[in-house]
Symmetry: C2
Subunit: 451 residues, 2 copies
């Protein structure tokens, strides 16, 4: 196994055991980037020298035993290019911000540096974290979209360039690219990770998420970003992730449900079949439940809030650089500007109502399973695919994780999404870890001809 | 000591020890209401028969030992008349809703019933929980306002009619009447108590609070309302109140600060002097700190959000019954209707920024002391006084408690306000309990001529 193939947890163990240096790990990841980046285009900025310098510092810290509390010491992380970085440009996926160099780090970047991580570079985002694709291609099929808007983060993790990456989700921008690229994508509960100095799109909906190749890697990265010791204006005093709890096997099987959601018919027939088959083959007692009627309004409610807030927060860009905005985003901004305050506040009140119903539905379960995307990555690079299976969960701010459990058409990866009540992130991760373990165990049995 | 004079905790102890029955307690409170209500006017509705029936049920439950988990069994509680009650009218302090009878309970009322409380009646609120006073007078001086908008709840607790009452605060509607009436008023962190089926004024700011005559009574009541086992759309998975923790003495003195706030000059000179003197006489090491500059915008930020949301949520009343709305509220609604979505969303973004600064300021302290009101209750009954010392704390949703520690002019009560970081309600109550204990101890010494 090459070093770039290691999960973060595996790499950390090897560094702790002094089997490998961070410098070796980073060199291996950089090698993989050099090999693959020309095809995939996951990065908007990366800097070999800076990365190796950070790795050497991490190795020095380890040598002199100054790594207490540095849970990501020497581990490479990719950062979606909407998080400000004081030492790398942050272009937000728009030519308007070409060469933009912030003089400060986003809170998330600062937390990563404080945890000893190596900031390997900035990953490609769709234009202003919305829909219009950047240059990234799906590592599993270069003619297909990696999904968006956290396109580069998902693709880079999938391609073995980095074990960990950070993204954001306002609608489906973590879960969707994770599903398309065949990696784990985890969007914790709304309000748990600080958003200071991230591109502000729609603050009622914008949420930070993470990508990795294992559930426990996502748990580890998210736990670093949740930052129990410090509060920010846009985080809430919510339960933190308890890693050791998330790792615990269940003594009694978890209580799971399956929800088709009101947009079930948007999924391809093969996706529907594969979801249902997987759920049935899990061998657990899984209740098939429906969302309350009001949730049928989730998509329109989300759209009103997102477009209205986006039009407000991108208004300077719209006013000053309209000609540099893609037609699809321009149309959204113009639609957003037409939304009345009355419709907006109605949507906000409706959000509260829907969230209440979702809470009431989810609270009886350790986690609920639901599609992540309508199908695997669609062909072509002109769209980042549909976020429709993420919308209601983003709207309500519940934690959601996509696991690469299914096969889509033509062998493309297809995620399965798990969600749970706000604040129960640890429990959700525990369920995801449980399912992931069973998945690998089943796959091993199949490979060995046991099944 | 008469039964109506007992705190809830004292009454509960006596009921547990079978020294008194709930029926006797309720009868005593009803007697006090009959004596005082003509002067004070704390109630918009109360029903002797219903109250005694509930008390008898509570006594029966105790007799047959079915009171496990019923932490308020047989304890009378008054409910601000903006919480829906399925068995009592809910008129929201407006003639427009005269005789309005909901067919359901507010979540808070349901939680109280589930805890075994006796819902004694509905307390007077200012018109639609804003400024225009109801009939209530200050029990300490009938020519003065009790404060608002939770006027009846504060006055009824102050007058010994009930040990516990529920109110709400969008700006200063718990802390201000508590300060004016000389009782404890506690507004927990935003998002901890469900608001289902309460009059919706400005959902970004509306917060449930409680009144009592001791800190631990407020802790008890708030803990019942925080409802750890069930989520609602408008509550967040935040830390619950831990009563036994709140009761714990400090082994090391708490770290306290004092903040004048940007509106210090709105306080009367005597209030300023009394606050500073009290803080200095506490005998603790209290740091004098300032709020960051951006907090100077808190009052205008709060006003924009409150008026805009209020105009939206009261729009039907405005459209259909304009002639039945007071001139002051009418003016506010018309001002609110003029606020643009851009100004509103700017204010919401500013709220996040201010909250971040407040968090950063408060996080180094167990609690921070600050004035509750500019002075004691002003003369006259045409206004409910100024909420200005509550605004920034309501805006940011931090927990706040007013303790009746000071004497205002002409012997009127004057509260001192304690605030802390969002989610640290237990710690705030612990500090308040510590200060309250010292206060009574000091008063006893003074009365005995020791000091």
């Amino acid at each position: 196994m090459k070093l770039f193939e290691l999960t973060a947890s595996e790499a950390i163990e090897k560094m702790v055991d002094e089997e490998i240096l961070s410098e070796e790990l980073i060199a291996s990841c950089l090698g993989q980037i050099e090999t693959k980046e020309g095809d995939i285009g996951a990065w908007s900025f990366w800097d070999k020298t800076k990365a190796l310098e950070q790795a050497q510092l991490a190795d020095t810290r380890r040598n002199i035993k100054k790594i207490s509390g540095l849970s990501l010491n020497g581990v490479p992380v990719g950062i979606k290019d909407i998080f400000d970085t004081k030492d790398m440009p942050t272009e937000n996926g728009t030519v308007i911000h070409q060469g933009r160099q912030p003089d400060h780090d986003a809170a998330v970047v600062r937390l990563l540096r404080e945890a000893g991580a190596v900031i390997l570079g900035k990953t490609v985002t769709a234009e202003l974290a919305v829909y219009t694709p950047g240059k990234t291609k799906n590592p599993h099929d270069l003619t297909r979209t990696p999904g968006g808007s956290s396109s580069g983060s998902a693709a880079a993790v999938a391609a073995g360039m980095i074990p960990l990456a950070v993204g954001t989700q306002t609608n489906g921008s973590v879960i969707r690219p994770a599903s398309y690229c065949g990696v784990v994508g985890f969007k914790p509960s709304f309000g748990t990770i600080p958003r200071a100095n991230i591109l502000r799109q729609a603050p009622s909906l914008d949420q930070v998420g993470v990508f990795s190749r294992s559930v426990m890697d996502s748990a580890l990265l998210a736990s670093v970003l949740m930052c129990p010791d410090e509060q920010y204006g846009d985080t809430l005093p919510m339960p933190q992730i308890d890693i050791s709890q998330a790792e615990q096997p269940f003594s009694k099987e978890p209580k799971l449900g399956f929800i088709k959601t009101p947009v079930w018919s948007e999924a391809s027939i093969s996706t529907q079949d594969r979801c249902l088959a997987y759920v049935s083959e899990l061998g657990l007692d899984i209740a098939h439940i429906d969302l309350p009627l009001v949730c049928e309004q989730a998509v329109s409610c989300h759209r009103t809030i997102m477009l209205c807030e986006m039009a407000h927060n991108y208004n300077n860009l719209y006013t000053e650089s309209r000609d540099k905005i893609s037609p699809i985003l321009l149309g959204m901004l113009e639609e957003g500007k037409q939304i009345s305050i009355s419709d907006y506040l109605d949507a906000k009140n409706l959000l509260t109502e829907i969230t209440g119903e979702i809470d009431a539905t989810l609270k009886d379960f350790d986690a609920v399973i639901t599609p992540a995307t309508p199908a695997g990555a669609p062909a072509g690079l002109s769209s980042t695919g549909s976020p429709i299976f993420c919308t209601v969960w983003s709207l309500c701010g519940v934690p959601a994780i996509s696991l690469p459990l299914l096969s889509g058409d033509l062998g493309m990866p297809l995620g399965l999404q798990f969600v749970s009540c706000r604040g129960t992130d640890t429990r959700l991760l525990r369920v995801a870890h449980r399912v992931e373990r069973q998945h690998f165990s089943d796959m091993n049995k199949k490979n060995k001809g046991v099944v």
